[in-house]
Structures are given as structure tokens and as C-alpha cells.
Symmetry: C2
Subunit: 205 residues, 2 copies
């Protein structure tokens, strides 16, 4: 079901090195889903079982478990980054800061709670991952953070923030709230669009 959600932007499908295809993609899909329950619950044997092969055969496609998890986390950050970026682009240049912030919240929540197991894995399990894996996507994470830094700055310029509060605080408040949503979100209780609307309305005035 998630085969089309993550599509490489560059390189032909048969190139093989940059965009995972076939078994490599299946391995990443399985790992991303298993990462919901943590790094140690994501065993090579469990990944292999979901793909339909044996544990040893994984090493024909990836050199280590760490390499697999690293690829998953990196793709998770990339997916949410691209989703939010294109959502903001789709709004057009005349959109208000309020609309843009709300769209970013909504898109981030959709990506991490519905569309991509990669994104939710990269958010929830991140701080329990091996240091090498964390280091490997720190740059991409910073880049994504910059989007939110810009959004908050726009809101501040438009006078939408509470007086006297630092933009850092607002950004961390917002990102914390959306990243923590994976801990309590249940689709039957409140829709993602409602959450995004309430979050934006609470922060902006």
C-alpha cells in the first residue's frame, strides 16, 4: 500500500543505487513498520519474515541492520520535508502566514500519522537509535527545521505571535506538539484537520 508514497526524485528505476526497488524497498518497508515498536524490536529476522526471505539473505541487499534503519530514518525525514514543502508551494504566494502555518501543521501530521511509516519511525524512535544513525540524518533534520523557523518568522512579522515570546519557543512548542501527537492520536477521536486547525488557532492570534 505504501509503494507509491515514497518515490525517488532522481535516477531511473533500474539504476538501483539511489532509489531502492524490489527487495530493497520491501526490506525498508518492513523495517519502517517494525520501528514503530523500537529499534531492538526491529530484528533482522522479523524484517526477513515480512519480506518472505531468511534473515541471512538480507545481507545480500544491505550491509547491516544499521544501514537499513539509517535508510528508513533518512527517507522518513525526506518524505515529511517534501510533503510540507510542496503543500506550502501549492498554497501560492498570496497565502497568509496563518494559512501557511496551519497547512504545515496539517501536512506534517498527515505524513507522520497516516501516510508514512517511515516518518513516524524517524520521529518516535529517533532518540533511541544508535548514535551513528542519528548523526547520519542530522543535516536533513536541520534543513527541515529551517522550514519551521521561516514559518514562525513570517507569523512574527505579521504580528500573529503572542507579545514577548521568542520565536524559538514558538517553534519548539509547535514541533513538540505535532511530534508528540503519535503518542495519543486516534483517528476516531479527532480528525487531523481539526487538530491542525486548533493547534494553529491556539498559537496564532
Amino acid at each position: 500500500m505504501t509503494s507509491t508514497a515514497v518515490q525517488g526524485s532522481q535516477g531511473e528505476p533500474s539504476a538501483g543505487a539511489t532509489a531502492p526497488v524490489g527487495a530493497r524497498r520491501q526490506i525498508l518497508d518492513a523495517a519502517a513498520d517494525l520501528l514503530r515498536h523500537g529499534y531492538d524490536a526491529t530484528t533482522t529476522r522479523a524484517i526477513a519474515a515480512r519480506v518472505g526471505i531468511k534473515a541471512g539473505s538480507i545481507y545480500h541487499h544491505y550491509e547491516s541492520k544499521e544501514a537499513i534503519v539509517s535508510a528508513v530514518v533518512n527517507e522518513g525525514v525526506r518524505v515529511v520535508h517534501e510533503a510540507v514543502t510542496s503543500a506550502l508551494d501549492a498554497l501560492g504566494p498570496q497565502a497568509s502566514p496563518r494559512e501557511r502555518v496551519q497547512a504545515a501543521i496539517r501536512t506534517h501530521l498527515h505524513a507522520s500519522l497516516e501516510h508514512s511509516a517511515y516518518t513516524s519511525a524517524s520521529i518516535r524512535a529517533f532518540s533511541f537509535l544508535p548514535a551513528a544513525v542519528q548523526e547520519g540524518c542530522r543535516v536533513e533534520r536541520r534543513r527541515y527545521e529551517e522550514i519551521w523557523r521561516g514559518l514562525v518568522a513570517e507569523a512574527a512579522d505579521a504580528g500573529l505571535l503572542a507579545p514577548g515570546v521568542s520565536q524559538d519557543s514558538v517553534r519548539l512548542l509547535l514541533l513538540g506538539a505535532v511530534n508528540w501527537a503519535g503518542e495519543w492520536y486516534r483517528p476516531e477521536r479527532m480528525s487531523i484537520d481539526e487538530i491542525a486547525r486548533d493547534f494553529a488557532a491556539s498559537i496564532l492570534r
Copy 2:
């Protein structure tokens, strides 16, 4: 080599079975600190090493690793619960809803980021814990949630919330932001009191 490295302090040994003392307390302390890196990183041998005993000796004090982690998480919830409760009580009955919300945020952050490894463990690692451990403190967690439900209701009655926003959204926004703070907080960047002030000012008007 029978070096007794872990000479029990045993100042008040006859406190009873409810409050851990001596070696039991040291075991919980070690486990709480190790839980920062996840449940599986919290090995019985690592706990024992910190206490200064061997892995097998742990089972003289606790019946299982799960029992240890369960005790840690429960105490973590209890600590933050009591801290916030007494902070609110200390404010007195004439304190404004704004003061009370800000005090709750500040106290929760202090407890989870500075004072108690128990609290930070119970927050960050919670969703990756065995189901039995999670279930064992679900009641206490609900009770703590009720405090915030009440605070948000007070703020709503005082007209401090954004119009048209559900109280559930505000509570989840707030709790998400403070619970996620463990992922980015660095004491040299911003003080906890500043964070609490900014968070409260952003949500309340």
C-alpha cells in the same frame, strides 16, 4: 575477591516495604538513568554494574527486570504528579488561571528535565515499554492528566483560550510540547522558567 564495594548506607533501614531503601533504591536509580537510552539498553547487568554488584544479585531485591522498570515508571509519574500538585497548592486560592497554568508547565519541566531521571524515563521511553509495564501505571497517568484537564478548563472559563478551540486540543498541545522538551532541551540555550513563560504566553491570551 569478595570486596564489598556496595556497602549499604542503611541509615534508616526499618522504613518498611513500600519505600525502597538501600540497595533497592540504588537499583531503581540506576535503572531510571539507563532508561534514558531505552528499555533494551537497560540490561540487568548494566544496572548491577552501576550498583556495584553482579547481575544475579539483583534478583535478591527484585523479582524481575520488568518489576524494576515498572517501579521506576510508576515513581516517575508519581514524582511529577506530586510536584505539580504541591506547586499549585503553594500558589494559593487567589492565583489566576494564567499563573496556575504557567506554574504547572514550569514544574512539569523542572521535574522531567532536571530533578528526576524517573520522570524523564517514564515519559520518553513509555511507549516502547512492555505492555504489562504500561498497563501498570495507566491509572496513575490518567490521574495526572486530570490535573491538566482541570487547568485547561479553568483557563477556558476565564476566557484565556483562543475562540473555537477544543479544550482537548489545548491540553494535548501543551502536554505534547512539554513532554517533547526532553528531545531538545539544553540548559545553556534557554532556562526552564523562560520556556514555561513563553509556552504559557503563547497558549493563553
